[in-house]
Amino acid sequence: MCDHDLMIFSVHVEVRLRPGIADPQGATIERAVPTLGFAGVRDVRVGKSIRFEIDAADEATARSEAEDLCRRFLTNPVIEDAVIEIAAGVSS
C-alpha cells in the first residue's frame, strides 16, 4: 500500500480505573466538593486522557491498532479500562 492510501485519524483514549479499584484522587476531590457548597456530587473518579494521531487505511484498522495499543501499553487491564474515540481525518 502506498502512503497516499493512508488516512490520519485523531484518537482520544480515556483511561478509567475499573469499578472497585481504589481512586484516592477521586475520593479526595469528592470530600472537598461539599466545602464549596456543591451538594449531591458523588462517584467522582479521576482518569487519564491520552490523545494521538494514527495513520491507517480506514477507521476500523485505526480502531484495531488503538485497541491493541491500549491493551498492551496504555492501560493495565487488571485495574483499568479504556474508552476509545476516533475522529476520521484527512488523506496523508
Binding site: 480505573l17 479499584i21 481504589a22 481512586d23 484516592p24 475520593a27 479526595t28 501499553f73 496504555l74 493495565n76 487488571v78 485495574i79 483499568e80
Partner: protein
C-alpha cells in the same frame, strides 16, 4: 551457591545502593545493571529494586518494562534464574508479565511508610527458601501503590499452587487476601512490596530481612 547479584538501575530507581549494600552483607558480590544494557552480565541472581522507575509515568512499571535490560531479565527468568522485585520492582515485574496481578493505590488512600509484620507462607521460593515457614518477619513498607489485586481465577491459582509467598499479619494497604508477595509458576520470580534491604541491622530496627536476602543466594 549463587554469589553474583545484579541490581537493575532505571532512571528514577532509588533503592539500588541499599540493595547492593544489603546483598554484600549477606555475602554476595553485588553489582549494578544499567537498564539501557540488554544483558544481565552473567550474574547468578537479579534484583529489581524500589524507587520510581521512569518517573512512574503512565503507571508504576509501565515504561520500565520496555527498557532493554528487561528482555534479558525475562530470558534469565525463563531459564530459571532467581529474580526478585522489591516495591517498585514488584510493580515492574507485574507490568512485564513476569508475575500475575497488579498493584493499585492503597485502600486507605495514604502513602504508607512503617514497619510491617510479614508471615512466611511458603519456603518454596527463591525469596524464602532459607526462611522458616510460619515465621513472622518485621520488614518496612514504603509505598502508595501496594494494594495487590488480581482477578478471582488468578487468586484461586495463587492459593492452590502455594504461590502466596508472604502475607501481612495486619493488612496495611487493602491487598487481596493480605498478600505481600507472590511468585511465578517456576517459583524463581518473586515480587514483594516490603523492603527486606532496610531490615538488615539492629541499627535499622530489624534484621528480619536477612533470611529473605540469604534465600536469594541459597
Amino acid at each position: 551457591m549463587s554469589r553474583r547479584v545484579g541490581v537493575v538501575v532505571f532512571p528514577g530507581s532509588n533503592c539500588e545502593h541499599d540493595v547492593v549494600e544489603a546483598m554484600r552483607v549477606v555475602g554476595a558480590d553485588a553489582e549494578l545493571l544499567w537498564h539501557g544494557d540488554a544483558t544481565v552480565a552473567g550474574v547468578d541472581a537479579v534484583v529489581v529494586p524500589g524507587g520510581f522507575a521512569h518517573g512512574d509515568y503512565l503507571r508504576p512499571g509501565a515504561i520500565a518494562r520496555f527498557s532493554p535490560v528487561m528482555g534479558a531479565v525475562a530470558q534469565f527468568a525463563a531459564d530459571g534464574g532467581p529474580v526478585v522485585g522489591i516495591c517498585n520492582g514488584f510493580q515492574v515485574l507485574t507490568e512485564a508479565g513476569l508475575l500475575p496481578g497488579a498493584l493499585q493505590k492503597n485502600a486507605g488512600l495514604k502513602f504508607l511508610c512503617a514497619p510491617a509484620q510479614l508471615r512466611v507462607e511458603t519456603t518454596d521460593s527463591v525469596l524464602t527458601r532459607a526462611a522458616t515457614k510460619g515465621s513472622v518477619l518485621e520488614v518496612p513498607i514504603n509505598h502508595f501503590e501496594g494494594n495487590y489485586t488480581c482477578d478471582p481465577e488468578t487468586l484461586a491459582r495463587l492459593r492452590d499452587e502455594d504461590r502466596v509467598v508472604l502475607r501481612y499479619v495486619d493488612n496495611p494497604n487493602g491487598s487481596v487476601d493480605d498478600i505481600a508477595g507472590v511468585c511465578n509458576e517456576g517459583r524463581n520470580v518473586v515480587g514483594l512490596m516490603p523492603h527486606p534491604e532496610r531490615a538488615i541491622s539492629e541499627l535499622l530496627g530489624s534484621t528480619d530481612g536477612l533470611p529473605l536476602l540469604r534465600s536469594i543466594l541459597a
